[in-house]
């Protein structure tokens, strides 16, 4: 009895969670003609790779009047010339995300260790300070940053995105790290110090290896936040050379003449890296979030 119930519940669960994505995937393999059918073909009857080809090859293929026409059997749908920007923009996103992750770790890990394990003047103040910065909405950052960056001519510079993203990622990262560090035994800290470790060495040689789950969780969160971030990237990047993936993908959406199938394909590509990362590191997320127990 329970089995049946669980089975049905699982099915509903999976449908809710995966169905929209499955549809996205399915649509991306359909040609323009198929995708405009009513009712829609849930499974592509004439699967095609042309949408993906456009993305990967648009760079080399020169977009001429002929190729444009070739790409749109039905009216209104065509594959945009900006398709070629998708891959470079993903590269931009990757560069930004990786930088943000590294900086988060460099900045966050020492700070979290200090707040979790060292008794110093201003400890509680630091903790409150860090918590309050989490509350600031991205919108509030946009205007001042925009003006600042514009004045200094740093628009379109990936560096400005990296710095800005720190604002939205560092507080949360430190929060995760502090809770995890706090759950690690204090006595290890004492043992390490008596063994001759300075505070920094205690951190690097003892606590960091033990905090792997939390570190992975931080990497994951930070990577995803940077990769997915839209508003700030929209504001700070004007040219395709510096645009990140969400911007390029969004630009497809606002153009009514673009083929739906293509948009879906772009969506699929945009989605693969984060989903892959999330699925691979799934178990670290839970254990990193819930300060786990340490044996020994």
């Amino acid at each position: 009895m329970r089995r049946i119930f669980l089975f049905f519940a699982s099915v509903i669960f999976l449908v809710y969670v995966l169905a929209p994505v499955a549809w996205l995937l399915s649509s991306s393999f359909q040609g323009e003609a198929e995708i405009t059918s009513r009712p829609p073909h849930w499974i592509p009857q004439q699967p095609t790779l042309e949408n993906f080809e456009a993305i990967f090859q648009a760079r080399e293929k020169k977009v001429t009047y002929e190729t444009r026409r070739a790409g749109d059997p039905a009216t209104g749908g065509y594959i945009p010339s900006t398709a070629r920007d998708l891959l470079p923009s993903m590269w931009n996103s990757l560069v930004v995300a990786v930088s943000v992750v590294l900086l988060n770790l460099l900045v966050g890990v020492p700070a979290a260790y200090a707040m979790a394990k060292i008794r110093f003047i201003g400890r509680s103040t630091s903790i409150y300070f860090m918590l309050t910065t989490r509350v600031i909405p991205d919108i509030a950052l946009v205007v001042p940053f925009f003006l600042f960056i514009r004045t200094f001519g740093l628009l379109d510079h990936l560096g400005s995105l990296v710095i800005t993203y720190l604002a939205i990622t560092v507080p949360f990262s430190i929060f995760i790290l502090v809770s995890y560090f706090e759950s690690l035994p204090d006595e290890l800290d004492k043992a390490a110090r008596v063994d001759g470790c300075s505070r920094l060495q205690t951190l690097t040689r003892v606590y960091v290896p033990l905090a792997m789950p939390a570190l992975v969780a931080v990497v994951l969160f930070t990577f995803l936040s940077s990769w997915n971030e839209f508003l700030l990237a929209l504001m700070f990047t004007q040219t395709p050379a510096s645009q990140t993936m969400p911007i390029v993908v969004a630009s497809f959406a606002s153009d009514f003449t673009i083929s739906f199938a293509f948009i879906n394909a772009a969506g699929v590509l945009a989605v693969i890296p984060p989903v892959l990362m999330a699925v691979i590191f799934e178990r670290y997320i839970v254990s990193g979030l819930t300060a786990g127990a340490v044996k020994g």
């Binding site: 043992a191 110090r193 063994d195 003892v206 290896p209």
Partner: protein
Amino acid sequence: MATIRFESVGKTYPNGFAALENLSLEIADREFVVLLGPSGCGKSTTLNLIAGLEDVTAGSLYFDATLMNVVPAHKRDVAMVFQSYALYPHKSVYENIAFGLRMRGFEKNEIEKRVRGAARSLEIEPLLERRPHQLSGGQRQRVALGRALVRQPQAFLMDEPLSNLDAALRIAMRAEIKKLHHTMRTTFVYVTHDQAEALTLADRIVVMKEGVIQQIGTPEEIYDRPKNTFVASFLGNPPINYLEGTLSQDGRRFVRGAISLPLPIALPVQAGRPVRLGIRAEDVDPKGTGEQLGGRITSVLPVGSDQFLGVEVEGAALFFRVGREVRVHEGENISLPVNANRLQVFDPASGASLLWQ
């Protein structure tokens, strides 16, 4: 090597709690000193101050002639064994033991030599490649000892290292530690709340209560000549018996109702005043010739080779330990010869001993 000297040291925490006040103590080189007291008495704090894990907030701490107040922990040359062993979970046993040496820049060969030597003497050589979570409690304990051993430090600090072990292991380890002290010839500072441990291991015991030292002395001194009721009660199992009464007019005897007992020393100056008499459970000898203490037996508890007798004397409930050959039953009356030389006398108000100060 190292003399450790506390000069009027105080330790107050940021929240205002004063763990230690005006502590003065000198630990001689190569001594085995035990800090003994109930939880919260400040003994662990004192140990942490020696290690540098916490900081002195008043007074001065010296190693030999060097002031150590601002020297951070990792620059001091002490080794510590923790109650929970604090082994590094992600390192092998070998690495755990070698860690302190690595941090201090020892040569690889030297490290190898020392680690294996320590492992051999602690009989944990076969465990060197294992991880802490694969070891039993006793094995982890030895690894923790090994970690401290290899450093050959100026002082060994031990914070209740045996409390997590079962009884039999604890007793065996006590002997090991004592042996270690003889071989290492280093200063040992040992913290415990177990008075039997203190009596077994210490050259000198420091009894502490609420951040204040009650008495410092050899085990014998502490046991036979306690300076107040706290020290007298803390050592001895079962705890010392107390009888409230008064001094006789000539100051030579203790009087309570029909009971009268001679004191080890005459105290004529304080004749007639109220006093508290202390009798240890073992200070009665059924075969002895001393003056007798009479009372009614309220309970008989055999414990293997001995028995405990609960005796009611002049309204007070006392506990004595006698041999198995004494055949008595509940409700009977009994007269027990007392070893008067071992009686203690205290002031009932302050608890201070009137015999020893």
